[in-house]
């Protein structure tokens, strides 16, 4: 999945790095210093529907061509995350205990059209 370039109107991954200092949360989140908050946005024309990006199989490619050449019944396709990964956090809870945990599905790695 391409990262978003200004001129790309199509579905893509929009990368943002959030530093916990910016949130004023460095006092209770010990590690890491920040994390990637990426999200998906952009258009999903019909011939891209169901194409999860570089992982598209040959079948998906043919399927897309068929859709592009046929007036496909209007069913919307959405730009959504197709791959995520967890984020490990080390933080202080309100009792001053140190907690180490993995929060699932926190970082979007790839986007595609549903």
């Amino acid at each position: 999945t391409p990262t978003c370039e200004p001129e790309t109107p199509l579905c893509c991954r929009r990368d943002h790095y959030v530093d916990f200092q910016e949130l004023g949360w460095r006092d209770w989140i010990l590690q890491p210093e920040g994390y990637q908050l990426n999200y998906c946005s952009g258009q999903c024309p019909p011939h891209l529907a169901g194409s999860p990006g570089i992982a598209a199989s040959f079948h998906s490619a043919v399927f897309s061509l068929l859709k592009a050449n046929n007036p496909w019944p209007a069913s919307s396709s959405c730009c959504v995350p197709t791959a995520r990964r967890p984020l490990s956090l080390l933080y202080l809870d309100h009792n001053g205990n140190v907690v180490k945990t993995d929060v699932p599905d926190m970082v979007v790695e790839a986007c595609g059209c549903s």
């Binding site: 010990l30 999903c44 945990t101 929060v103």
Partner: protein
């Protein structure tokens, strides 16, 4: 929000950079709090001493908790009657309830002073809540007994099933140490043996199952 669009992420007005940044920061706060099952950011009223924190973090081996397996918690003790001449102290831990109910691994870290006179027997009790009757004593349950032979840090394994905190999340441990059976000479020399100040503060290391429904053992099935 896409106006009238069934796919909000496909259309909608492109935001000005500063507005998008403000939105991203707001999203980040919400995402982190939801991920940690918190309704608001914790207010740290009792931050642990930096040196104790650094030393304790060194104990958290990287990767010691498999991703998605749960949490690892380090809780620093509040020591009462630290002035006791030996190492019989009461340690109080403030855990978020009912965190300790899901512990599957527990170790108590203690730092013994060089004044340790030979081998000592250290018994660790969990203290129950105070009974209603005025003047009554807390019940206590023996959790573990260890032999202390050398000064320095000791990681004492405790049965995680015995670590039930009170509803308030407070866990009280009572340490009793004394000479081994039949070794009377040690008992006759009262001196401070347990280091409780500053970065040598005792702490509890807990490994806890994830507390979302449907994870953990159920997944193994």
């Amino acid at each position: 929000r896409g106006t009238g669009s069934v796919c909000p992420s496909c259309e909608g007005p492109t935001l000005a950079p500063h507005a998008e940044r403000a939105l991203v920061l707001e999203l980040a706060k919400r995402q982190i709090l939801e991920g940690l099952h918190l309704t608001s950011r914790p207010r740290i009223t009792r931050p642990p001493p930096q040196a104790a924190l650094t030393r304790a973090l060194r104990r958290l081996q990287p990767g010691s908790v498999a991703p998605g397996h749960g949490e690892e918690v380090i809780s620093f003790a509040t020591v009462t009657d630290a002035s006791s001449p030996t190492c019989s102290s009461a340690l109080t831990f403030h855990l978020a309830t009912p965190r300790s109910h899901h512990a599957y691994h527990a170790r108590l870290w203690l730092h013994m002073l060089p004044s340790l006179p030979g081998t000592l027997s250290l018994r660790i009790f969990r203290q129950g809540p105070r009974r209603r009757r005025p003047g009554s004593r807390r019940s206590r349950t023996l959790l573990a007994e260890h032999r202390m032979t050398t000064p320095g840090w000791h990681a004492l394994t405790l049965p995680s099933s015995g670590l039930r905190a009170e509803e308030s999340g407070v866990l009280r441990l009572q340490l009793n140490c004394g000479p081994l059976e039949g070794n009377g000479t040690v008992a006759g020399q009262p001196r401070r043996l347990l280091d409780t100040a500053g970065h040598q503060r005792p702490f509890l290391e807990l490994k806890i199952w994830a507390n979302e429904a449907g994870t953990g053992r159920a997944r193994r099935r």
